[in-house]
């Protein structure tokens, strides 16, 4: 690959991967809000 193509691709893809991972990890790690919340799967464990 030529240098400009390689740089454009790597910068674009790394930025996207970083943001995607950052936001998704936040979704997975932020504790749920107090019940009643919008999600039904954690209803039992919250009671």
């Amino acid at each position: 690959m030529n240098t400009s193509a390689l740089i454009t691709m790597l910068v674009s893809e790394l930025v996207i991967i970083a943001f995607t991972a950052f936001f998704f990890v936040k979704i997975l790690t932020i504790p749920p809000k107090a019940e009643p919340d919008s999600y039904s799967e954690n209803d039992e464990e919250q009671r």
Binding site: A5, T8, M9, T20, I27, P32, Y39, S40
Partner: protein, 508 residues
């Protein structure tokens, strides 16, 4: 306050995956790479990112927060979500777009989805092995011309029943489960095919060029194009269509989120996941493999009419060069990936229609789902029977292009200027798990409407050409049918409005 609803999301991850699945469609793999090579290669990513930042992200927040706001008053479809934001009658009829678009797009999209099912079957059955490139290409032409008898109709019906059945299982039991299975598999198959595409070596498995040659071609920036309006219009259009904004399905999904729960981070996560699938995976499969076998000039020629032909007519043949086992696996993975991309989107199209019938006419979930299925059957039949006569493309143009832009433009004006940006900004930030830069408040108020206005104005010459062209009776018939659907949905909204007044059911 949040009015009680029988439906709810099972988990936050499930909601984000369902929203990402709604956004990720066949266009991520078939449209984006073609748009990139036609509009400056790697340089296309600059207007693309700018449009994502100034139009895509703001629209995601507008739709998520409008949906959650409407959900507070028990509304799960755009006519009454918009009505809850401003009481002038006009807005609920603008909200009709949010049901009409879903019905009309689902009608032809389910047919497209059914092709992927059929091609999955044919890949596993080895139907393309030992065939010439022309024969494999002709297979697709014969398929949509119904030369193969009723096979396309059968796969279409299977696809329709599958969608309807999943919808009848509800949000957490159907849509969310499908997204939790479909999205990880889609990403896995995408990564496997991308690795195979990028590592393709000239001289092995019949390839003429390295896969890297294709990647190099796609990503080499041509900065001379960067100030061309056509390139900016293409980038804005791509961002617009890839995020599934302007349809009413995001509002519907978000209407099941409570006021105190986050939408700002959810919207970001789903939006960036779509970008990952589109830019990282979408750029690494179709073009590298196609150029590896066909060369740059042939691929440029073949993509002049979009990526659909390359995906369905050419790729199945190229896979056969990898031997019987790998060919079957690659074909299955490619069409399964497209199938998951499609079904997670078509399910999102069903929920606003179902939400409307449940909210306004007290229908059960199951009854609404099967009614939606029946409506798609009736509306979709012309696209199956008269594909070659241009009915499919006509649906795509009016419902899948024009309606989206018109609706997004109006909803942005409503949110930023009628509902008011201060209230709107408060809605976006309520319960937010991230701090949104205040810069976006001004972007939503000034920049996003201008961007959308530019996209709309840019589409006017095409629109004018379409309207005056009445030479094809099938196309005119399709247009009238769509107009009838729009008027029919408007009438239902009118009845629902009168019913609400009679029953004193306006909570907002």
């Amino acid at each position: 306050m949040t009015l009680k609803t029988k439906e709810s999301w099972g988990s936050r991850v499930g909601l984000v995956l369902a929203m990402a699945g709604n956004a990720v469609g066949l266009g991520n793999f078939l449209r984006f790479p073609v748009q990139a090579i036609q509009n400056g290669g790697g340089a296309f990513i600059i207007p693309y990112f700018v449009c994502f930042l100034l139009m895509g992200i703001p629209l995601l927040w507008i739709e998520w927060s409008s949906g959650r706001f409407g959900g507070k008053w028990g509304h799960h479809s755009t006519p009454f979500i918009l009505d809850s934001m401003d009481k002038r009658s006009f807005w609920k009829y603008i909200g009709v777009f949010g049901i009409f678009t879903n019905l009309a797009v689902a009608a032809y999209y389910c047919y497209l989805e059914s092709w992927t099912l059929s091609y999955m079957y044919h890949s596993l059955a080895g139907s393309f092995m030992g065939q010439s490139a022309d024969t494999v290409s002709q297979f697709f032409i014969d398929y949509v011309s119904l030369v193969h008898g009723y096979e396309p109709v059968l796969f279409w019906l299977v696809c329709l029943v599958m969608n309807t059945w999943i919808l009848s299982r509800g949000l957490s039991g159907g849509v969310e489960k499908a997204a939790k299975i479909g999205m990880p598999l889609l990403i896995l198959f995408g990564i496997l095919l991308a690795i195979k595409g990028v590592t393709l070596k000239a001289g092995s498995e019949g390839a003429v060029y390295d896969g890297i040659t294709g990647l190099n071609f796609l990503w080499t920036p041509d900065f001379s194009t960067i100030w061309t309006p056509k390139v900016w219009l293409a980038a804005a259009g791509q961002i617009f269509f890839t995020l599934s904004v302007g349809m009413g399905s995001i509002q519907c999904y978000a209407s099941y989120v409570r006021s105190k729960d986050d939408i700002a981070l959810n919207a970001m996560s789903a939006g960036w996941m779509n970008e990952f699938v589109e830019v990282v995976l979408g750029s690494s499969i179709l073009i590298p493999i196609a150029i590896g076998y066909l060369g740059i000039d042939t691929v440029i020629e073949m993509t002049k009419n979009g990526g659909l032909g390359l995906g369905f007519r050419t790729l199945p043949y190229l896979f056969t060069q990898w031997g019987p086992l790998l060919s079957a696996m690659a074909g299955f993975a490619w069409f399964c990936l497209l199938f998951f991309a499609g079904i997670t989107s078509s399910l999102a199209m069903g929920t606003p229609c179902m939400g409307f019938m449940q909210d306004e006419f007290g229908w059960s979930r199951s009854k609404s789902a099967w009614a939606f299925g029946a409506a798609i059957l009736v509306l979709g039949l012309p696209t199956v029977l008269f594909f070659n006569e241009g009915v499919f493309d006509e649906y795509d143009y009016w419902a899948g292009t024009v309606s989206l832009v018109v609706f997004a433009l109006f909803e942005t004006i409503l949110f930023a200027w009628v509902f008011g940006i201060d209230k709107g900004w408060h809605e976006i930030n309520q319960g937010a798990d991230i701090k949104i830069p205040v810069f976006f408040k001004y972007v939503i108020k000034y920049v996003t409407p201008v961007f959308l206005g530019a996209v709309f104005i840019g589409s006017l010459p095409d629109l004018a050409k379409k309207i005056i062209d009445v030479s094809n009776p099938y196309v005119v018939g399709a247009r009238l049918l769509l107009l009838g659907v729009f008027l029919g949905v408007s009438y239902l909204v009118y009845i629902a409005y009168k019913k609400r007044i009679k029953e004193g059911r306006f909570a907002s």
